[in-house]
Symmetry: C2
């Protein structure tokens, strides 16, 4: 009888220790799960933080580029119309060069010329300077041999005026140049 | 400048949430700490996900608005120069109305007029129609009593042409109107 009791006791002890072990194992695996979830959440948070920061930076880039583009568009907005008006100025100059114009007609032509030049000037259009030959601003349609009085690159005649809009050339001046 | 400020804000927010996390961790028992850390991390992830989504949406809005603005700028880019050219057209018309012009001069003036009109047309500038009085497009500088042959709102004379750029009025036509 007492043997049976002892055997039972032993069995109980064994079972108890087995249960304890099992509980510990379960607790450990739970901890790992917790950690993994936490790690994943932290990773996710970092990931979205980076995405947010990138989107934020990109947003500011887009805004900056849009501002720059707007400024460029504003600065050169009159380019096409100004270019298209230049032949009218040429025609006016030719008309004014006709001999025997009445004073009325001459005055009228000059008024048109002045108001066109004024309109263009207000938009940033200027005549190209023709002091000395510059291949960025001038086109040589004819050359003359240079001499002591006419050094190379000096301009003999302007066939057609050149124009620029701010720093941008609308059309080069057509010139006769010594070289 | 605004970039720096926004970045600082972001950093501050991040620091604030980190401090919060730390405080919560210190105050709680270990088991609760695990949970709180996870919760905080998940919250942070959600927070940045929302911030990212908002920044992304805002980015698209900025891009859309910039495109719209660019289109508007392009459409009306010639407005100022075109407006400034209109007096030249008036002067040309007056010069052409002078009697006794030689054929050369007349031809010259007409060429200038034509090329100016062509340049303006290419940029979307059109004369305002003067079929019937429209207070949005015309300015009545004089009125005449309407009768059977001249119903109210019919136009007797155009003193000065009006012009519009696409749908935008550059200047109204000055008219004499029956009423």
């Amino acid at each position: 009888m007492s043997e049976d009791i002892k055997k039972e006791e032993v069995t109980e002890e064994t079972q108890a220790s087995e249960t304890e072990e099992k509980e510990q194992t379960e607790a450990a695996s739970e901890e790992t799960t917790e950690k993994t979830e936490l790690e994943a959440a932290l990773e996710k948070a970092e990931d979205f933080e980076n995405k947010f920061l990138r989107a934020h930076a990109e947003m500011q880039n887009i805004q900056r580029r849009a501002n720059e583009e707007r400024q460029q568009l504003q600065k050169y907005r009159s380019q096409d119309l100004a270019k298209a008006i230049l032949p009218s100025l040429d025609n006016l100059e030719r008309a004014l060069a006709v001999e025997g114009l009445s004073d009325d007609v001459k005055k009228g032509l000059e008024m048109v010329q002045e108001s066109l030049n004024q309109a263009l000037k207000e938009e940033g259009v200027e005549e190209v300077a023709v002091e000395s030959f510059d291949h960025n601003l001038h086109m040589a349609v004819q050359t003359l041999p240079a001499d002591d009085e006419h050094p190379a690159d000096s301009i003999a005649e302007v066939f057609q005026k050149g124009y620029k809009l701010h720093d941008r050339l609308l059309r080069p001046a057509m010139v006769v140049v010594y070289n």
